[in-house]
């Protein structure tokens, strides 16, 4: 092999550099995410203009629903936050040269890519992808009446199992790197909240994904070997099946034991990133840093004891309903603390309405609204009538679809200069922001009303229902038109990424004047090994903004100790103590 070819392959393809792996992860996730957007628009075409598009029959509609859900939750958001942001930011933010297991990290990406390829292959097998809904509830998910019964469901389950292997390999790296590879002075309570969010989310992923693995493997065996883990005795399409005695409820418990933490696997990194964006772009230290850390930890802990609130309609002992409703509502406490702290960080801040900041602010209100409807649905008696309606679609899209995506955009606009050495185009960014932000409100806000009207979700068509007024259909048409516009606007973002990576305005090393460590690398973009000959030494937290009496309005984490700007808890201690124990 020519040396140049070999260099290209080891630098860009079989790379063990966390930054290249992060870009590989992010590009793959964004590509598969665009497929998810197209699928959502196809669904909306049927809902907004029922029967106008012949190729969208009921079977295909369910396939679009299923693949859209699974792609967005698992293959886009989880992969992008942990594999993309986690990979890029953890080593740079904690002052490490790379992940502690670079080879495993490389494997993690390639195994993730394999899972995506297997998932996409299901579009091309006989019968197409599965149309079982993203929850894949048995018995219907593996019975002949469900679209994609032939190969689609098998490929879906195999792809999920492969994805979990990839996530575990990545997760081992992220957790161990945070615990083990922090530079001198970088105590756990000096890490930026982005790292805290990704760290706790990774722990949740490592504990939650095994539940999906268990349910996926057992469902696969029910489908392929005819075991009856989840399948009860039943008659399907007029034929008695060979199944007997299995428990569909067992699947639901396993699925949601993964499924609810999954919400926070996506939300916690978003919480962390948004805290950093708000602090940097409001030029103010984050309000209540330690409270924010403990809130992240508390939310992570609570998120594993609320899963059955997804199963209120499946029926359970009333005491369990009470328990799960209570734990669900208690999550509102640490979450509200975070929202208050974001607002208090903004209070009297020097707010710069840059594109990342716009996305961060949009996140705070979108998340608050999505969270408030969560309080409705957390109550058993309110959930039962609303659970099968568009109210739930509106709720979860606001809280775990749009809100985290706004952070993804904000995060990419924020860190793009470090990743490429060039700025993303501001004008396109602002157009993209306003269309996405206002557009998603125009899409999901009306859905709450449709849900309260009783409009059922998961339906292919709504003809012949007396209780649905004609205005609901007009609203559906409106939503579809906006969804198409918002979907198309995402191409602006993709164009901006591609164009700016090569033609964008060259960025300085620290264009946002941020204090955290990733902006203090000797070169931009950082080279392999990140830090040149000497690892950085950290003397303060990542939020030293607006310190009185300083020339600059920020002090980098690794600026000499004389610069001051210590975290509030360390002030008043001697310098040696405050510097923290070497990692």
């Amino acid at each position: 092999m020519k040396p140049a070819t070999k260099k290209f392959l080891t630098h860009y393809v079989w790379s063990q550099d966390h930054k290249v792996i992060a870009i590989q992860y992010a590009c793959t996730a964004i590509a598969v995410g665009l497929v998810g957007v197209v699928l959502s628009n196809l669904m909306r075409l049927q809902l907004g203009f029922p029967g106008q598009f012949e190729f969208i029959n009921a079977e295909r509609y369910y396939q679009f629903v299923t693949m859209h859900g699974m792609i967005m939750v698992i293959y886009l958001l989880t992969a992008l936050f942990l594999g993309g942001f986690g990979n890029y930011l953890i080593p740079l933010m904690v002052g490490a040269r790379d992940m502690v297991f670079p080879y495993l990290n490389m494997l993690s990406f390639w195994v993730y890519l394999l899972s995506v390829v297997v998932l996409m292959a299901s579009f091309f097998v006989e019968g197409g992808p599965t149309g079982a809904g993203w929850t894949l509830y048995p018995p219907q998910s593996i019975l002949p009446g469900t679209p994609g019964h032939a190969g689609g469901i098998v490929l879906m389950l195999v792809s999920l199992v492969i994805f979990i292997v990839a996530t575990t390999m990545g997760g081992l790296n992220y957790v161990t790197t945070v615990l083990q590879a922090r530079c001198e002075g970088m105590t756990l309570l000096r890490m930026p909240l982005t790292v805290w969010g990704i760290f706790v989310a990774t722990i949740l992923a490592l504990l939650g994904f095994p539940a999906l693995f268990v349910s996926g493997v057992m469902l696969l065996l029910d489908r392929t070997l005819g075991t009856s883990f989840f399948m009860p005795a039943l008659v399907s399409m007029g034929q008695a099946s060979g199944y007997k005695g299995g428990s569909p409820l067992l699947f639901q418990h396993l699925f949601w034991f993964f499924g609810h933490p999954e919400v926070y696997i996506v939300a916690l990194p978003a919480f962390g990133i948004v805290s950093d964006l708000i602090s940097v772009h409001a030029r103010k230290s984050i309000f209540g840093y330690r409270m924010m850390v403990w809130a992240i930890v508390a939310i992570g802990g609570l998120s594993v004891v609320v899963w059955a609130h997804h199963m209120f309609v499946s029926g359970m002992n009333p005491y369990f309903g009470f328990f799960f409703a209570t734990t669900t509502l208690i999550i509102a406490v640490p979450t509200a603390i975070k929202v208050y702290n974001w607002v208090l960080t903004l209070w009297h801040g020097d707010i710069h309405l840059s594109v990342p900041m716009l996305f961060a602010l949009a996140f705070v209100c979108t998340f608050a609204i999505g969270g408030l409807t969560g309080l409705f649905l957390g109550n058993v008696s309110v959930d039962i009538p609303l659970s099968g309606t568009y109210f739930v679609v509106a709720h979860f899209h606001m809280v775990m679809g749009v809100a985290p995506l706004l952070v993804v955009f904000g995060g990419i606009y924020h860190w793009f200069p470090k990743i490429t050495g060039r700025m993303l185009d501001d004008r396109i960014g602002k157009i993209h922001f306003w269309i996405t932000f206002l557009g998603t409100y125009a899409i999901y806000f009306p859905m709450h009303y449709l849900g309260v009207l009783g409009m059922p979700r998961r339906y292919y068509s709504f003809e012949g229902y007396q209780f649905i007024p004609a205005s609901a259909f007009s609203l559906n048409t409106f939503i579809t038109v906006v969804a198409l516009v918002v979907g198309a606007a995402q191409l602006l973002f993709v164009f901006n990424l591609a164009w700016s990576a090569w033609r964008g305005r060259p960025a300085t090393a620290n264009p946002w004047r941020a204090a955290s460590l990733e902006w203090q690398t000797p070169t931009t973009p950082p080279g392999h090994g990140n830090w040149g000959p000497q690892l950085p030494v950290v003397y303060r937290w990542a939020y030293a903004y607006g310190v009185p009496g300083q020339g600059e309005d920020y002090i980098a984490q690794n600026a000499p100790p004389e610069a001051g700007g210590l975290e509030p808890e360390a002030r008043g201690r001697s310098e040696g103590e405050a510097r923290g124990a070497p990692a």
Binding site: V100, G171, A211, F213, F229, G245, L254
Partner: protein, 207 residues
């Protein structure tokens, strides 16, 4: 080259000094064992919930499982002693015991397959009843974890062969994982053997 110069050189290359690598690998293994514990705990819960079903029956466990358990236990002890020998500068003994540990695990897998064969020859199939389905599933899952361990063991043999003392930490990590595999197998064996449908019903509170 003295220690600090070696450390500087390692840092300049982007590498980390061996003691950091050892402790990183140690933490990584603890985290992985945590993940595997979560996985097997969920399998155990699924087993108990499913065995609570009215169609569940206990299956007679093949005698080979006692043999395989013994082999896994011997492997675990062998690797522990190999790590001690490597640290105590007894390279030949460390190598012998390292081999013994891996071969015992290989033999464990072979005997597990023998147990499968014994069970299938008496018409106990995965689709037959949940007890059998879980037997095959849980032994296969555990077997996959043993295979993963064997891959790491093969790498350790490769890395530790020239100088076991320098790679004692690798052998110790293998030993730790072998103890974990043994503990998991102990729980699974007890589960398959003694958590019968009656016990499962008692746990689930089914009348």
């Amino acid at each position: 080259m003295n220690a600090s110069a070696a450390l500087r050189a390692g840092v300049a290359r982007g590498g980390r000094p061996p003691d950091t690598r050892a402790s990183a690998a140690g933490i990584g293994l603890w985290v992985f064992m945590g993940v595997a514990t979560a996985l097997f705990s969920l399998f155990v819960m699924a087993y108990v919930m499913r065995m609570n079903g009215s169609d569940a029956v206990a299956i007679p466990l093949p005698w080979q499982l006692w043999l395989s358990s013994t082999l896994l236990a011997i492997g675990s002890v062998a690797l522990q002693r190999s790590a001690t020998a490597a640290r105590g500068a007894e390279p030949a003994r460390a190598r012998r015991l390292l081999w013994a540990g891996g071969l015992c695990a290989l033999a464990f897998l072979a005997v597990q397959l023998w147990a499968w064969q014994a069970l299938t020859s008496t018409q106990v199939t995965p689709a037959g009843n949940p007890g059998a389905a879980f037997f095959y599933l849980l032994t296969a899952m555990h077997g996959l974890h043993v295979m993963g361990g064997l891959a790491a063991w093969a790498w350790t043999v490769h890395a530790a062969w020239p100088d076991p003392a320098a790679a004692a930490w690798r052998i110790a990590l293998c030993a730790r994982y072998w103890h974990f595999l043994l503990a998991v197998w102990g729980v699974l064996f007890a589960l398959l053997g003694w958590v019968t449908p009656e016990v499962a019903r008692a746990i689930c509170g089914t009348p």
